[in-house]
């Protein structure tokens, strides 16, 4: 059973517009969530995280929103840039700070159209 789900395998967004990537989870023990970006032939790069005690965290163009009651989080990228084209993974941990092994979704391939 998949505990972290990214239901959109791919997403195409025009340059300059907002990209919204979604993630759902089923395990109530998860209390720390992370987003990673991955280019081909590279390892995942950490983007942004959020603890379950918050509902929003912002870092530059990236904002993550957490809705604990719905077990849903989303990553907003504004404005989208061509370099944002990559696979985005949502990950969750049952230990604040991502200390334990992370559980990943299958990823969403974001394509930014010029």
């Amino acid at each position: 059973d998949q505990q972290v789900k990214q239901n959109s395998p791919s997403l195409s967004v025009q340059e300059g517009r907002i990209s919204i990537l979604n993630c759902d989870y089923t395990n109530s023990m998860f209390d720390y969530f992370l987003w990673y970006k991955k280019y081909p032939a590279e390892g995942p790069t950490f983007l942004i995280s959020i603890s379950s005690i918050k509902d929003k965290n912002e870092d530059g163009r990236f904002t993550v929103f957490l809705n604990k009651s719905a077990k849903h989080l989303s990553l907003h990228i504004v404005p989208s840039q061509p370099g944002d084209s990559a696979v985005y993974f949502c990950a969750a941990s049952a230990n604040r700070g991502g200390a334990d092994g992370l559980t990943f979704g299958k990823g969403t391939h974001l394509i930014i159209q010029p």
């Binding site: 995942p44 990950a91 700070g97 200390a99 334990d100 990943f104 299958k106």
Partner: protein, 113 residues
């Protein structure tokens, strides 16, 4: 400041063989986690090492084993390789006994024929 490094970058083995993959953590990090990423999937947690001991383990058979050295570097060993072990193997390091965000290396691409 060197990030997480892994070696080799690519490896080809045949069924039944054994393989050893290596990882050096980011400077200052003391915890190493290993993940397997099959094609089209997200990374799956194999195990985590801290203070030279296996701290946590995912749902992987005993054919997968590891080691952490006093300098915090780590090895992943896989015995009796199966075709299904073909994947990208990722190493991630973190700080302070695992209480920090995990940073990934570029991975080792293993192909089992």
């Amino acid at each position: 400041d060197a990030g997480v490094t892994q070696s080799p970058t690519h490896l080809i083995k045949t069924r039944g063989q054994q393989v050893t993959l290596r990882c050096s953590p980011k400077s200052g990090h003391d915890t190493v986690s290993w993940y397997q990423q099959a094609l089209g999937q997200g990374p799956q947690f194999i195990f985590q090492y801290y203070e030279e001991e296996e701290r946590q383990r995912g749902n992987f058979p005993d054919r997968f084993s590891g080691h952490q050295f006093p300098n915090y570097s780590s090895e992943l060993n896989v015995n009796a390789l199966l075709l299904g072990d073909s994947a990208l193997y990722l190493c991630a390091s973190s700080l302070q006994g695992g209480r920090g965000t995990q940073y990934f290396g570029p991975g080792t691409r293993l192909l089992v024929l």
